[in-house]
């Protein structure tokens, strides 16, 4: 084998790297583990719960592994009692190490199931409040937020009141995008012709970064938005002010948003839901691109086909 100093060198190198990674890890903002809302909280609790189990498994395997490798290494003075080349197995041991993982899987499956059903409901902490409905639509490569009740539309930012449940209705105009605000709660896909619902709630005022985490092409990296949590009064005054001062969203402006590009923040006092619902109409954006002569290679769509589909509304609602 190798000489001793090399062993020590390797061990030192490994330990130093491990320490550096750990320190840097603690310095980085592990935002997923520092949630600011009940949805992220449920997920963080589940993650931490599973991490404890996993660390326990790692410790058991590592201790056994280290013991075996050191104790049973081949060297000059091997005790023949410690060498049993014909040992075929042990039914007792094998039953034990089948049963324990079964128990662990059950122990993980139960809280996971509970969390899954909880996440489909509005957050329990604000059960009395009526959720605010916001449509979040991904279009290459921006996020469009529509407040149907308030008749407001924003692009690449979304203002919400704190301590208030929000029901996001998520869809997309073209590619499959994933709506994700890491510090508030886990993600869900927006897909053309379908709507996915996601309850979120922010407990502390502040700005939280959100983005599309699913690859949708060239501008995906920059498809980000700010989720801004305001206290109830500021939110109400923002709504009022926007309704009074922001321009109406006309169809031409909206059509421009359907072309693949990154854009800045925008605010309007009417929503695109007046002329298209991407949750039903999957082909709107393709049609617009064709109209503006943006190349859609790969598939040949004809205007007749488009008309047929939009008349039939062929895509089912999710």
């Amino acid at each position: 084998m190798f000489k001793n100093y090399k062993t020590w060198l390797i061990i030192m190198l490994s330990l130093v790297s491990l320490i550096v990674i750990t320190v840097l890890g603690f310095q980085a903002d592990l935002i997923v583990l520092d949630p600011k809302g009940p949805v992220g909280e449920i997920q963080k609790d589940l993650i931490m719960y599973s991490i404890y189990f996993m660390l326990a498994i790692l410790v058991v395997v590592y201790v056994l592994f280290t013991y075996m490798v050191i104790k049973y290494r081949d060297h000059k003075n091997v005790d023949s009692k410690n060498y049993k080349p014909d040992m075929h197995g042990s039914v007792k041991l094998e039953i034990i190490w089948t049963a324990i993982p079964v128990i662990i899987v059950i122990a993980l499956a139960i809280p996971n199931a509970k969390a899954l059903y909880d996440l489909k409901q509005p957050p329990a902490s604000t059960a009395g409040k009526e959720p605010i409905v916001i449509h979040a639509t991904a279009a290459d490569w921006k996020w469009i937020f529509s407040y149907p009740e308030e008749n407001i539309e924003t692009v690449n930012y979304v203002n919400v009141p704190e301590d208030h449940p929000i029901l996001f209705k998520i869809t997309a105009a073209d590619s499959m995008a994933s709506f994700w605000v890491p510090q508030i709660g886990g993600q869900i896909y927006g897909m053309p012709g379908m709507v996915n619902e996601l309850y979120l709630q922010v407990d502390e005022p502040g700005e939280y970064k959100g983005r599309n985490s699913n690859f949708t092409g060239e501008g995906m990296t920059h498809q980000q938005f700010n989720m801004v949590a305001l206290d109830e009064d500021s939110y109400q005054s923002w709504v009022k002010e926007t309704q009074e001062n922001a321009p109406k969203l006309d169809e031409t402006t909206y059509e421009k948003l359907m072309l693949p590009d990154n854009v800045g923040e925008m605010t309007f006092s009417s929503t695109h839901l007046d002329f298209v619902d991407h949750g039903i109409d999957a082909t709107y954006a393709m049609h617009i691109r064709e109209k503006y002569g943006v190349e859609i290679k790969g598939v040949k769509i004809t205007t007749e086909e488009y008309k047929q589909v939009s008349n039939n509304g062929s895509h089912s609602n999710h």
Binding site: L13, I21, L24, G25, A28, L30, V32, G40, K44, L46, M54, V61, Y62, M68, Y72, R73, D74, N82, K84, P85, D86, M87, H88, G89, S90, L93, E94, W97, P101, I104, A109, L116, K120, D140, S175, M176, S178, W180, Q183, G185, Q187, I188, Y189, P192, G193, N196, R211, N214, F215, G217, G219, A282, M286, I296, K297, G298, V299, I301, S314, H318
Partner: protein, 652 residues
Amino acid sequence: MVEFIKDNLILNDPMIVGANISILLTVIVLVFVLTYFKKWKWLWTEWITTVDHKRIGIMYIISALLMLFRGGVDALLMRAQLTVPNASFLSSQHYNEIFTTHGTIMILFMAMPFLLGLMNVVVPLQIGARDVAFPYLNNLSFWSFFFGAILFNISFVFGGSPDAGWTNYAPLAIEGSPGPGINYYLLGLQVSGIGTLLTGINFIVTIIKMRAPGMTLLRMPMFSWTTLITSFIIVFAFPILTVTLAMMTFDRLFGTHFFTLTAGGNPMLWANFFWLWGHPEVYIVVLPAFGIFSEVIATFSRKTLFGHKSMIISLVVISGLSFLVWVHHFYTMGGSANVNNIFSITTMAIAIPTGIKIFNWLGTLYKARIQFTAAMMWALAFIPTFVIGGVTGVMLGMAAADFQYHNTYFLIAHFHYTLIAGVVFACFAGFVYWYPKMFGHKMNEPIGKWAFWFFTIGFNVCFLPQFLLGFAGMPRRVYTYLPEDGWTALNVVSTIGAVGMGIGFVIIVYNVYYSLRHSKMETTGDSWNGRTLEWATATAVPPHYNFPVTPVVKDVDAFWQMKQEGTANKKDIEYEPIHMPNNTGTPFVMSIFFFIAGFGLVFEIWWMAILGIAGSFGCMIFRSLRSHVYDKGYYVSVEEIKRLEQPFHKEA
């Protein structure tokens, strides 16, 4: 014609032009060397047309190493781009192409062929057979894989690489990706998929029908077992891929609407079909790896494998479950709580049989005499590293938590911990372990250990930080990030690790050269004091017929048992002439036609596509008409057997 080449040859990117030139130079040097040393005929008769499973295996492995180089360069380019925020080393489009080719190449053109290569070299020997059941088909398998890989690889210099990720999700891959890139992906995978499917069929028949007398299924070595189960998964999973790829090809070329946004297509269908193949695919690469570790660990523990039967049971359970978990790749598509819950449970359930395997390996180490050879070190490093991949897999399997892991670097770190610690370590372990069986000499051990330490430490330094990057909210497939995201330090560390892995790979390649020059030739077939039949041949590199007399098996560790009884190296054997199959050139020609058809379809050059398809059918007809008349094989005479078995006699 000139227009067409001018339009598609990529000359505006200095890196790709560099690649162009180096490819051209390599080809020129190769042609020159082959001509100068008059090796063309040798190449044709000894390698290209060979039906010898060992040579086909070696060709698979050489191709896999080339692909590992290509995929590795892709990986280093990505790490270079991500080291610091706001880097402009690669453009977004270039980065997208690189991560797409990295993923596709590493899974389909590196991991699979590497393992198929080792299977080819080892499995017929391990079960005491003379060759695989269908040697002709085996040659076709290799060449269709090879030309599929070439077709995929030329995309980056001619026409542009695919850029929709290795998962190639619709509608991005249809409406969102103009240019021939995605066509390359579809056709390259289609052509190489033919080879994989044929290999699956070939190995099922070989293992079921051609085992040596006495080798019951329960006495079959673990690597052959994993090969058998893997072949079944291939036969069930690859047709799904074939059909799915064909459907998208139709969408892109002929205006059908299976996965399109328009006219009633359903993009989600692609995700379902893709992962219906894609998840079993993960087990297609990881199960043979488990087999390799079982062989290596048993050999260098100087002990029989612990829990042989429970290893087999867990193998079968894993293969069944592998078809029942595909939805866990898209919990976030909005499945109901019930659906996500069921798939969470099936996913986590895979940890149970896998756990059994881990503890059985640990059981094998118990009361053993562990020898730290380079092969064994790869196998030993697998256990603690793969367990990290395993437990994080369980965490990802919990759907409610997965909403936070999905599409993040946590996922990236997880699957690299399973695929590198599981598959790549196994490829290296198997490569070093069976190297004397392929080339007649061992790889240099000290250099091999240097490579091991660089690669394994580099690997952990590269991917451990990525778990934390996931918790810090860094999504996968982004080409850059901002300083205020706070991901810089961990990314720098990760890149340092990647460089370490690169150095490890270079040392391995250097070791091939060094060992060729300096290693002593093996004088027996049993280089490592082995336990299974592949070590029972008289010479280090077995002759093309493998065994002069078919061995008789009495135990799981057949060769070990022979050595214990002293029946291993019997002297006075009555030889009989051995019937062997003829070499064949048709599969090579047929695969060239596949390539022509594929290329024609990629660029929608219809005459070329039709020519290619007609040509490959022509080869098939040619073979069918001829095989009964001419392809009857030949006999190896007793004199020749005696001559080839000589080293054994000398020694005895």
